[in-house]
């Protein structure tokens, strides 16, 4: 398979890239890691006239904590950069848990965090972690930069909120208010397959009490499911059998799965409940060990 013809541009600066998008009025697409876009153009699900390869733009491969404590992930940070980070598990356990579950190890050397968010696949691992963590995207266009909350960024399956002349230049994750805890669990039949269901949980702990609680689901709805309201039943509580079961029930209720060859809707909802319970139990157990 190979794609239909396109013009290839390899700008050296963001402004140059934005000018190319502007000049092509919606017919140009940004090419970063290409691990979703290239298969799609090969299958001819998409046939953009122009591909704008941003891999030659220097300074987009950063992953750093800024002065306000936000984690900033540039547009060319690859999945494996997060996977191999030695500090991420302590500061962002939810991201660290998801990093080694994205696609497969070879795809992870190339695909990007921000590109995965832009792709807006309902199965996307990173979208779920971003919704649970309350992150946002920084988009840059001809008139400068703007922030887009991740929940407003993903509009539906494979649809994001970027204007035709905008580039998602970074993803930003706010600091935990308290001690960060959380994880990401995913059920897949084999590595690289679409998930049957996956669950991202991110808690900010104040001592043994839950300060902020975030949760999102992938694979169990037409887009990433925002389960932040559902898991907020934990806020102000300690993690015990009763509060964990209430939270797991509420999150499972927020799922919107469909029956397909990966399982029935009931089964997928059951997986969601099991994963939420498992993540919260693990956090509660490590709390006890730390105490």
């Amino acid at each position: 398979m190979y794609p239909s013809r396109f013009a290839y541009e390899a700008p050296k600066t963001l402004n140059e890239a934005i000018a190319i998008l502007q000049a092509n009025g919606g017919e140009a697409k940004i090419l970063a890691g290409g691990q979703s876009l290239i298969p799609m153009v090969k299958l001819r699900f998409a046939s953009p006239e122009v591909l704008v390869d941003i891999n030659n733009i220097p300074g987009l491969d950063y992953m750093r904590i800024d002065e306000q404590g936000n984690l900033r992930i540039g547009a060319l940070v690859r999945h494996e950069d997060l996977e191999h980070s030695t500090t991420l598990a302590a500061t962002h356990p939810t991201l660290a848990a998801a990093a080694s579950l994205v696609a497969d190890p070879i795809v992870r050397t190339r695909g990007t965090f921000v590109g995965s968010l832009c792709h807006a696949d309902p199965q996307g691992d990173w979208s779920a972690t971003m919704v649970a963590l309350g992150g946002h995207i920084v988009a840059q266009g001809p008139n400068g930069r703007r922030q887009i909350d991740i929940r407003e960024f993903v509009l539906g399956p494979f649809t994001n909120a970027l204007a035709y002349n905008e580039i998602a230049v970074e993803a930003v994750i706010p600091p935990a208010k308290g001690r960060p805890a959380g994880s990401y669990l995913k059920l897949e039949r084999r590595v690289g397959d679409f998930a049957t269901a996956s669950v991202a949980v991110a808690l900010d702990m104040n001592g043994a009490t839950v300060g902020r609680a975030g949760c999102a689901l992938a694979g169990v709805g037409g887009k990433t499911i925002d389960a932040n309201d559902a898991i907020s039943v934990l806020v102000g509580k300690t993690l015990n059998a009763e509060s964990i079961e209430a939270a797991a029930d509420a999150v499972a209720e927020a799922a919107d799965p469909r029956t397909d060859h990966r399982g029935s809707a009931d089964y997928k909802r059951h997986i969601v409940k099991t994963f939420v319970t498992r993540i919260l139990n693990n956090i509660a157990n490590s709390e006890q060990k730390a105490a």
């Binding site: 398979m1 190979y2 794609p3 239909s4 013809r5 396109f6 013009a7 290839y8 390899a10 090419l31 290409g34 691990q35 290239i38 298969p39 090969k42 299958l43 591909l51 390869d53 891999n55 494996e80 080694s100 696609a103 497969d104 190890p105 070879i106 795809v107 050397t109 190339r110 590595v191 690289g192």
Partner: protein, 178 residues
Amino acid sequence: MSSLYEVIPPAAGADVPVRRITIEVNGESRTLDVEPRLLLVHLLRQGLNLTGTHSGCDTTSCGACTVLFDGRPLKSCTMFAVMADGHKVETVEGMGSASELHPVQEGFKQEHGLQCGFCTPGMMLAAKALLERNPDPTEDEVRWALSGNLCRCTGYQNIVKSVLWAAEKMRNDQPQEA
């Protein structure tokens, strides 16, 4: 040399825009004119006649087309050749020769890590990248590192043994520190 889909098989494609790229393939610098939509795997196989890189699923799943791109494993069906401009690509042809096998190749021979051989080049390059980063992997780490490469013959058991064999050999071949 010009690589267009039109000239594989040969036929003039004068109106097709091409870009000149320079890539280092197995240590040798190559300058080529390529059509932007040409996939790296097709440049290697048809353009450069390096047919050791196999094209399997063609959908970024199977890993048969795995090459090393600046030392990291890459599915070459999922990169345009133009994107490799200025970069280094290593294929199975660059690993060793029949008389002088790379330890990973030797491992696959010793431990019967292949049957039909279709997945083998990709498996060996993914294994080489693993061992460069982690010279003493556990069995579990080998299985994880190869989880993007599919094999329909072996059941993976002997592939894992082959990689562990190579790891040990490469550690033993290292000059001992005083």
